[in-house]
């Protein structure tokens, strides 16, 4: 309207420059990890770093415990039970999501439909759970889990994971239930439905999309959990994030490519669901505050 075209063009150029900068900052690390995972030991430590190189698949073979030609990864022998960690993370992830849904969804519904003091108490509790340093809980859990024979077992891990997952799930689901107009449920009650029937036949179908997204986000949160698994598991139930630390001696050395391949594999399942949960994620981020 009154801005002159030259000024406007300069504004656009600056805008696109900043967007490009931001994109590089966000995406380049992924690009670098991904390309690194296809580099041979020699290409991986090349100085200056190589942007073009011959694709080298032995890293992935080694990470997935497949046969690797002797010597192709240098002299370092790394024994990381990475594939097993992957399997463990899947089992623990699905188990934790199942427990969190069974326990958390009815609780979220009850919270969404009750008066404010209860909500405040629970909100406070969640916040507290979130800000307790992990080791203030995990050290005694380690003691307890050893006594109860829950140490390094799937069910022990699933139970301990709930401290991160349950508040997150309840908070997200509470929001979705609160969004349902109360009139719909009241109409069902007038028709003679019990509280459970209203929940099961009216509320749950209405929140189905949110429920599905929350379940995926909880799975992602379980997949990302590191400290709990690091302390409460050893070999049998070790999750993949912990198995990844097994490469820590290698990613500074010649076989960074192997560590990069493992890192890429760890985040692969999450990249696959990222698009799906994109519009749901913000709600979970501000756990315990506002809506």
């Amino acid at each position: 309207m009154r801005t002159n075209p030259v000024k406007k063009t300069i504004g656009r150029i600056i805008l696109y420059f900043l967007v490009a900068l931001f994109l590089i900052w966000t995406i380049f690390p992924f690009y670098w990890l991904f390309t690194m995972s296809f580099k041979s030991p020699i290409d991986a430590i090349s100085n200056p770093p190589k942007f073009t190189f011959k694709v080298f698949l032995e890293n992935y073979k080694a990470a997935l415990n497949m046969y690797v030609k002797p010597g192709s990864l240098g002299f370092v022998v790394v024994q990381v039970e990475f594939l097993k960690g992957f399997k463990n993370s899947m089992i623990i992830g699905f188990g934790s999501v199942a427990v969190a849904l069974a326990v958390g969804v009815p609780a979220a519904y009850a919270l969404a439909r009750t008066r404010s003091r209860l909500q405040k108490t629970v909100g406070l509790m969640f916040l507290f759970v979130r800000f307790i340093p992990t080791f203030a809980v995990v050290i005694p859990l380690f003691i307890l889990w050893r006594q109860l024979k829950l140490y390094d077992t799937y069910h022990g891990m699933i139970l301990a994971y709930q401290m991160n997952l349950l508040p997150y799930l309840i908070w997200m689901m509470k929001g979705y239930f609160a969004d349902i107009p109360i009139e719909i449920e009241e109409a069902a009650k007038v028709d003679g439905c019990t509280a459970w029937q209203v929940f099961r036949n009216v509320a749950l179908p209405l929140v189905a999309p949110g429920l599905a997204a929350s379940a995926v986000l909880v799975f992602v949160a379980a997949w990302n959990t590191f400290e709990i698994g690091y302390i409460l598991s050893q070999t049998r139930a070790q999750p993949v994030t912990v198995a990844l630390t097994g490469y820590s001696s290698t990613y500074t050395g010649q076989i960074q490519g192997l560590a990069a391949a493992a890192g890429t594999l760890v985040m692969l399942p999450e990249l696959l669901v990222a698009g799906y949960v994109q519009k749901y994620i913000v709600r979970g981020l501000t756990l315990g505050h506002g809506k």
């Binding site: 966000t26 670098w32 380690f142 590191f226 994030t241 990069a260």
Partner: protein, 309 residues
Amino acid sequence: MMFEASTSVKEHVSDWVLYARKNPMAMWLIPSFLVACIVLAPFAYSVYYSFTNYHAMHPDQVKWVGLVNWIKMFQHPNFWQALNVTIRFWLMGLALAIPLGLGAAMLLNQEFQGRKVVRALLIVPIMIPNVVAALTWNIMMQPLGGVLNFFLIKLHLPIQRWLTSTDTALNSVVIIDLWWSIAFVALVLMAALQSVSDEIYDSAKVDGANGLQRFLYITLPLLTPHLILVAIYRSIDLLKVFGIIYMATEGGPGRTTTTLHIEAYDRAFRQMLMGEGLPYALLLTAVLVIIVGFLEWLWGRSRHFVGAE
């Protein structure tokens, strides 16, 4: 929300009983409370064990030692250093993530080609495990042949030793944290920015306010509660950071990135002195309560000020 005068416990309990009779749905909460107890009960245990000489190898010889672990901690130079590192990491992380995240949120709120895609990409750093983030940046930050130093050379800037030097290790860890925290702050603030109505900006434009004035007098005040909110979440994550630092430096070189949380882990699990490690974790809890409590108070005040309540 956090610190308000509560009614007496008795009144609370009778309230709840009455409530449970009136509304059977309260029963649905019981399983969650039980699971929550799995977290809160060990926390109580933590306090108890911090007064004992619990050793992971000799769990049958637990003795009450009183305040010994606590006094030892306060007398130990490592404690003060770890506290210093914790606070510095928190302040640096917060001071950088919030302005940069706000900048990114405002940038992505502009109209440009491919905005949807760029916004969608924001969630990717947030979703991946922080140990993978640490691994990725560790590879990029290699002093020899690392891609960051390659860029610095291209830009004619001095190369860095990043995570391997006592001077730069903490800053480097802050950068790793920034990678995902900028995305986090931007994502939350973007949602907040959309709730500010365009009409306010339009009327300000009519009144002749320039871009800077609109930012200072409209955007910033209206966003204040949201800024404090992200400060709360960033503070929690920054103060109790473990995975990133552990994966990137294991607390080194020297003790330059050893935070209270790393120190608690180190004593409890590497040295197996759980009784000695717990005061570090509990003191960190106290630091969190103070800082987060203050920010919560500020948040309540700011909401009142903006008129959100």
